[in-house]
Symmetry: C2
Subunit: 454 residues, 2 copies
């Protein structure tokens, strides 16, 4: 059945789809915009780890449909089963059709599954974005004693930390890389995160991979490379995510090197009427333009705002993925933007770094003071900022956005050293020893002294 024609049709109701639809309607108020999604309810995806501890009810993380209504976006709940690129139609649930002038694919991603024997046993979960799966997992955790979290990235660390708060007795993170959070932080920060997890009672095993999940019907043990066995009545896999591209592939749209849908800097696919954004869309790094597999809700929203603005003419360009984010583990906040030193070196940069630490209030006796540590990474030959890492109180969540701006505008060591920061005793570090400024000064000294040695 032909449902209706929409000037703009967006497939997907999470970060990318929502921001694309809202931007499209705001900037093209005379165009009709329809959002098609398969879930009855859309969840705040970043909030999902918190439903296992901090947030008692899953209802709290539902994105209200009023966001669509207020923006005059038509909502259709149903699954996009086919894109008919010749007739500009999307098939819904195998039998209905919606026509489009412009189509935005924002089908997101699904959690990756480690393909080891036993991955399909009951008791083995991923962090799904579906309400029913989350409810089942939450129920399971209530009766679990031994939880193994596979993968010590952000989501793994957050889930472990939350399950600990919820009272799960024994929790073990197994990470096959040398450190938890290693994609985002250099060793000195990652080691701190691991120590915080261990201190709070979460066991951390790094540099070892999982070879099997054994048991009967349900999982009972996780077997590690080398033969170690970790008891487990529940396993949560947090090993990354996979772009949802089936629909695009079937429509003949090309995929890129990371397996996501190919798009240009305007978020347009090879089909001039079709755009893609968010986790399902291929990304390039801000640093040199190489393919990037980073998937973050904040990037999805930025891409959605680019796609939504460009539907009927080019307005905005994607500068590439910087990778800015934050988290809180065991009460300490971590945040980063751009490349770690390790990643910068691996990318081919010759780097210089600076580190500074101190209180995040001034004088240090002010209420709410926490210690703050900052590391900045610069390209050596030109002093341009490549990355920043923070550890401390909750304000690091916004300090990283200052650094994201500095990175986007390629600020240099000297720019940051004389940066006009706003400071206040109740809110920030002292202007005399403000850590990003001080870290830039340290990087300068390191650069000067390494030049002397050359």
């Amino acid at each position: 059945m032909f449902l209706h024609h929409s000037d703009v049709l967006v497939i997907g109701g999470s970060s990318a789809g929502l921001s694309a639809a809202i931007t499209a309607k705001r900037q093209h108020p005379n165009k009709s915009v329809t959002l098609l999604r398969k879930e009855k309810e859309t969840l705040v995806s970043c909030g999902i780890p918190y439903v296992f501890g901090t947030i008692s009810s899953l209802g709290e993380i539902v994105i209200p449909n009023s966001l669509l209504e207020n923006n005059k976006i038509k909502l259709v709940v149903g699954e996009a089963t086919k894109i008919d690129v010749e007739n500009f139609m999307v098939e819904v649930d195998g039998h209905d059709q919606i026509g489009y002038d412009r189509l935005v694919i924002a089908t997101g991603s699904r959690p990756a599954m480690l393909p080891v024997p036993g991955f399909d046993r009951s008791g083995v979960f991923t962090i799904s974005k579906e309400m029913s799966v989350l409810l089942e997992l939450k129920q399971k955790l209530r009766n679990s004693r031994d939880l193994v979290v596979i993968g010590g990235g952000f989501i793994g660390a957050e889930v472990a930390d939350e399950c600990r708060k919820a009272g799960v007795k024994r929790i073990t993170i197994v990470e096959d890389q040398s450190h938890c959070l290693g994609q985002w932080f250099d060793d000195e920060f990652a080691l701190n995160a691991e120590a915080i997890l261990e201190k709070s009672g979460v066991a951390v095993k790094t540099g070892v991979s999982v070879t099997e999940m054994s048991g009967d019907a349900g999982v009972k043990e996780v077997i590690l490379e080398g033969g170690d066995v970790v008891p487990a009545d529940a396993v949560i896999m947090c090993v990354g995510s996979v772009a949802n591209t089936d629909l695009a592939k079937k429509a003949g749209l090309a995929l890129g090197p990371t397996g996501a849908i190919s798009v240009n800097r305007y978020m347009r696919t090879a089909n001039e009427r079709i755009f893609a954004c968010g986790d399902c869309a291929e990304k390039v790094s801000f640093f040199g333009g190489r393919p990037s597999a980073i998937k973050l809700a904040s990037i999805s929203c930025s891409e959605g705002r680019i796609a939504g603005a460009n539907l009927f003419g080019v307005r905005r360009e994607n500068i590439g993925t910087i990778g800015a984010l934050g988290t809180t583990i065991g009460g300490t906040s971590f945040a980063c933007a751009g490349l770690t030193e390790q990643a910068a070196i691996a990318t081919g940069y010759d780097c210089v770094t600076g580190v500074a630490q101190g209180p995040n209030r001034h004088p240090a006796c002010m209420p709410g003071m926490e210690m703050l540590k900052v590391k900045l990474v610069f390209e050596k030959r030109n002093g341009v900022i490549l990355g920043s890492q923070f550890m401390g109180g909750s304000s690091v969540g916004e300090m990283v956005n200052m650094m994201s701006a500095c990175i986007q505008k390629k600020m240099t060591i000297d720019d940051i050293a004389v940066f006009q920061i706003g400071t206040h005793p109740c809110l920030t570090s002292s202007p005399l020893t403000y850590q990003t400024v001080d870290a830039a000064e340290m990087a300068l000294l390191n650069a000067l002294s390494s030049k002397e040695k050359e």
Copy 2:
């Protein structure tokens, strides 16, 4: 008596002098650096309002001399009484001399005094940076019932808020402009600050000036324009500050349009061996280069880092004063960077603004959530950001630094609308509705709709 020769001599031990001395020594490790200051102890100046409430002991706000020792800077306590520019010597306490190759004047500012009858009665204070005066005022406030704070800028509002916390019974702020904090915030924000003060028990009288402080030996009443009388056994004047330029003037150095020491973009005076920075140095605005009377510790530190780096060759340039700062009043934080809409219009800009508000955590049920309001001001013809205002939780103190970076790099509406923000449920607003991004989108819509009308 000739004390010694120093390659670099810095006069003044507060923000500007300290950061100039530290930067000079770090970047010119082979040069000797001496800091000459008249105070036995230097106080964290921004912390001073907090000694009346939050901070119990004045000792907590003393900057430790170890900061100088650790950086191998020689400290001399004494008053610079003359600069002998011909012989490159500074006279100390009228009888000693220190020789210099490069001199940095960082003599700071002193509180302005309202020249109305009775200003010299006992019980009338300014917020001095001298320990002895602060101790006297703190003692006085212990026995005060009726306090009048003249001037509702940042310092006035902070002092009133702190005295309230300390238990002073009746506090009245008298501000001659139309609103408290009006230099930094547009009316809609300033009105909120006033309402918070009033609700906490501080009376606020705006748009009225003080004509007299009457009484016997001690002040008893503050008389307002129009005849209203406010009882007062203590009065604190927070009506701005005056650059300390006597020493420079006597040495024949020129003063600028705001009465501070003239310097170029490298912080150098007309005398090629003499630099000036901080409150005693003339400033220009980042916006169009007109003279600026803004005095902030954070600007002093930035200028000190510029002066210290440039002493033996140009390394850093002052881009002009942006004016970024924050404060907390009655538990709500306010922060701003750049021009208000009112100031932008007064400067001659044709502006467009955008406002956004919402929770500063996501989902909104996350612990620590507070409502956040943001206003952004852009130049209409090119979409370049001119200013930002924030009200909400403590994270606004760092959000404003993100905006300071955007302003320094002249980011546009579209740059900020697709800004790659780092977000997290525990730390920030949702990426879908992040307020600075949303405010930029709103400004774009306002700009588009006003173009349609043209």
